[in-house]
Amino acid sequence: MTTALYDIPGPRTRQRHRLYGLLSTALILALLGGVVYLLFSTGQFTAAKWTPFTYKGIQELLLRGLGNTLKAFALAAVLSLALGGVLATGRLSEHRIARWVSTVLVEFFRAMPVLVMIFFIYVALQAEPLIALVAGLTLYNGSVLAEVFRSGVHSVDRGQREAAYALGMRKTQVMTHVLVPQAVRAMLPAIISQLVVALKDTSLGYLITYEEFLHAGKLIASNLDYDLPFIPVVMIISPIYIGMCMLLSWLAHWVSQRQRRNPKVEAVEVAAPEPGTLLPGGHRPPA
């Protein structure tokens, strides 16, 4: 494998690499061993800490938390896609006022931390936790998705737009029949990646007492009766969170591969499966 950094290794380099490999494997195993030893020595695997998880009530508590997380995610995903569409339409509009208003809204909501918006809606507007969480997530992800949609429409080959206008289509028809279908197909990986960000951010609900997955975990972890099983709770919750996000990321990656082979997307460059973390004033992430 030739890269800019090194060539295909010869026999002496291969030996050296094998030596490095052995050394680094030994170091990593020592590190892992140290962590496992630490876990055992601080008594994280005692029966008292783990038996609560065998009770149905505890399992149902965790599942309910997971359900609430997914509920918040589904609501936020649908609403931010809708909001993104609306704001993108505004930004692509011919009318200066619509463009100006949408630009201000998009830039403002992208620059604000999500947590500040969620807290503002929860404290100042005194909304319920679920509504505050979904609203905050929608405002932020909707703005980012608006930028993704817009850059998608702009990245369609100019020829497509010119041909559509030459055939006598009006602006709305050009958008709905020619540009948007191609743009959405091309941007699908970036859209799904942004939804992964939304899923991760549902855990912010924990900070405004929304009873989601992390909250359910904390309830169990801070219980004196169960001997404060903090590490076991983390060991159970983390793989589930990581697994869910990995599934979505993998979906984005798979969609990206498929769309590259899709003949309907010839006139557009398919986006990378990366979330739309563009600088204000936007550079597109490379494919």
């Binding site: 800019a4 090194y6 680094s24 931390p113 503002f120 855990s203 900070l207 983390v234 563009l278």
Partner: protein, 214 residues
């Protein structure tokens, strides 16, 4: 308006806390990110695996969960640090995964021919790396790193819920004192805008000087 003028020191302390978190976590993230990127492009298999595991786990973990595990979990292993150090640790490690990906894709934009030409001229690995690959990679890596650090500045708001002095936490004492909630938040928002726009301006300057079309 009164909110700001009456509580300038409170807002100031919060802003300082946010800036401190951002600066130190950015440094940690850059160092760890470069290290992990080096692991991921190394010719040694186990280092590549470690780097990939690091990036995959941290990119797919919610930051709140990471804070939860670090601030409330590490003390059980005997590691007792002040809260803002824990926050810097959590933020830095989380962002390092994104920086690693940015740096790696930057290295990948350098054409293979550059490396081959350098080696055929007899340059050693450090010379190739320092004189040819890194300067070119650096140029194309500026916008993604800039947007990642802006995201870090915004994520620092989470630290407020874990007993760290920062800007968002300022709303609680102010709302108890009875000030108008809306104006309290307006000035908090302005504070965050100052931080993110500063980083954005800094990276715009860097890009104008060094940047190149990807």
């Amino acid at each position: 308006m009164n909110v700001l003028l009456d509580n300038l020191s409170l807002y100031g302390k919060g802003l300082l806390g946010t800036v401190e978190l951002t600066v130190f976590a950015s440094l940690l993230a850059l160092v760890l990110g470069f290290l992990m990127a080096a692991f991921r492009v190394a010719p040694v298999g186990s280092l590549r695996a470690f780097g990939t595991a690091w990036v995959t786990v941290l990119r797919n973990t919610p930051l709140t969960l990471l804070f939860f595990a670090v601030v409330l979990g590490l003390p059980r292993f005997g590691l007792v640090l002040p809260f803002n150090l824990f926050a810097i640790l959590a933020l830095g490690c989380y962002t390092s995964a994104f920086i690693c990906e940015a740096v790696r894709s930057g290295i990948n934009t350098v054409p293979v021919g550059q490396g081959e030409a350098a080696r055929s001229l007899g340059m050693t690995f450090p010379q190739t790396l320092g004189g040819i690959v890194l300067p070119q990679a650096f140029r194309s890596v500026i916008p993604p790193i800039g947007s990642t650090l802006i995201a870090l500045a915004k994520n620092s708001a989470i630290a407020g819920a874990f007993s760290v002095t920062e800007l968002l936490g300022v709303y609680k004492p102010l709302s108890e004192l009875g000030y108008s909630i809306i104006w309290t938040f307006v000035w908090i928002a302005v504070g965050y805008l100052i931080v993110t726009l500063t980083i954005s301006a800094l990276f715009n300057v860097l890009e104008k000087r060094y940047g190149v079309a990807r």
